[in-house]
């Protein structure tokens, strides 16, 4: 039920009702000792109120009833005014562009495109009706290295979509080029062709010498055109290193005892000789030649030194030094590690044959191979 509710004094209510019903309809009239409550149509409320006032009838309360009543209760005037004002502001804002978006530029900076827009008097909060997208499109297309541009207004955003020119290396690089071949064993994880014919795909296991990119492209007529092969290929490369450690090692050490003999030569002819008897059981020999004078008379001194040595047999405790050996083996494997490589996994295995331990260290690298 919808309408307007009156609560009036019950005094002389019959007289009031009789006057009101001559022109207007009344619903749900109820009466108690003090009050009379009745409802009327919204359109009649003002006239009924006038009649009541004319009769000096006391009105206790008057309110909307039904849907209007709820609307009146839910929305205060402030909220309704706020919504109304928002609608107006929103309506006004739809007439302007509030944002400029540039997409599709990779080499060109957004700033360069914005400069062109500014030169053409395009800025935020410019009225939409003053923007001619076709003219703007033509002007943006005139920027160097832009092959195509589209300008659209979507909502309040001016979207500039540009396509940059592709560098036509095919024309420049026509000639005989070598294919790109793999210099690693591994598995392809990413393959992005720039130019040429890609011969591998992601997941392929490649060996050293496998062709990755052929130096040609095939046109629509099926003709092969020679181009410089270019691609970004990343693969998982397995690099292994091994280190052998013998359990018993024979080491030779110098004892510190030494004997020196020397000879003097002039014009490469021996002029003096000092010989020594080498009594050492085992020794190491070192020879050294020094020119004493080389101006008028070239005199050369040839010195031979004998160092006494002893041979010892050392037992290596592998388990104690295991980590050191593994680290040593890893460092050997890392010799193949380049600056931009990423270590994806590393593992090692140890096995023993006779008295020799062998450490096998494997590094899995994510390597950009071309």
């Amino acid at each position: 039920m919808k309408g307007f509710k009156f609560e009036i004094s019950s005094l002389n209510s019959e007289k009031c009702i009789n006057l009101i019903i001559q022109k207007y309809e009344i619903f749900n009239f109820s009466k108690n000792d003090e009050k009379v409550i009745f409802y009327c149509k919204n359109k009649d409320k003002k006239n009924i109120e006038k009649i009541l006032k004319k009769l000096n009838q006391k009105i206790y309360n008057k309110s909307y009833f039904g849907l209007l009543f709820h609307i009146k209760n839910i929305f205060s005037i402030g909220i309704i005014f706020g919504i109304f004002l928002s609608c107006i502001l929103w309506g006004i804002s739809t007439l302007f562009i509030t944002d400029i978006l540039v997409v599709g530029n990779y080499n060109l900076t957004t700033k360069e495109i914005f400069e062109v827009l500014e030169n053409n008097d395009i800025y935020k909060w410019k009225p939409k009706k003053n923007i001619n997208t076709k003219i703007l499109q033509n002007k943006i297309e005139k920027i160097d290295h832009i092959s195509y541009a589209s300008v659209i207004i979507r909502g309040n955003t001016l979207i500039v979509n540009v396509k940059e020119e592709l560098t036509n290396n095919e024309v420049i690089n026509i000639g005989n080029f070598d294919p790109i071949v793999s210099i690693y064993d591994g598995q392809i994880t990413s393959a992005k062709l720039i130019q040429g014919t890609l011969k591998v795909k992601v997941g392929d296991v490649i060996k050293i010498g496998d062709v990755l990119v052929e130096p040609y492209i095939t046109n629509q007529a099926g003709e092969k055109i020679s181009v410089e092969p270019l691609a970004d290929i990343v693969c998982d490369v397995y690099i292994t290193s091994n280190l052998n450690i013998k359990e018993h090692q024979i080491k030779t050490k110098r004892t510190g005892n030494s004997l020196t003999s020397f000879e003097l030569y002039a014009f490469n002819l021996p002029i003096f000789k000092k010989q020594v008897n080498v009594t050492f059981k085992t020794y190491e020999k070192e020879e050294n030649e020094v020119y004493i004078s080389n101006i008028l008379l070239p005199i050369k001194r040839k010195e031979t030194t004998y160092y006494e040595t002893v041979t010892t047999k050392e037992n290596i405790n592998f388990e104690e030094n295991k980590q050191t050996f593994i680290e040593e083996c890893k460092q050997i494997a890392l010799l193949n590690f380049a600056k931009y490589d990423i270590i994806k996994n590393e593992s090692y295995s140890i096995y023993k044959i006779d008295d020799t331990y062998t450490i096998l260290y494997t590094l899995t690298l994510s390597k950009k191979i071309c």
Binding site: E14, N28, F29
Partner: protein, 87 residues
């Protein structure tokens, strides 16, 4: 336009002018519909009295309310016990 009371008068060969002072329908002692009311005399929860042409009608009962009232029609609801008509 179809009028129930006119049709009834026609069916029984009654003079419409003569029998058109007021019409009253009582629906199961719960609702009373009156055509031809000429003004409210008294409104209370146990009695509603109103004028008709050449007379007065009183509806007695409990929790009586006027559901709808215009210049000629009146709908009374409640527990209707008695309807009296007088000059």
């Amino acid at each position: 336009m179809f009028n129930f009371f006119n049709e009834l008068a026609l069916d029984y060969n009654l003079n419409i002018g003569e029998y058109n002072q007021f019409n009253l329908v009582n629906l199961s002692n719960r609702l009373v519909y009156i055509e031809g009311q000429k003004g409210i005399i008294k409104i209370a929860t146990d009695c509603i009295t109103f004028r008709v042409k050449k007379g007065v009608i009183s509806v007695f009962g409990q929790n009586l309310t006027i559901k709808r009232i215009t210049d000629t029609t009146l709908v009374i609801s409640g527990e209707i016990k008695q309807i009296e008509s007088g000059v």
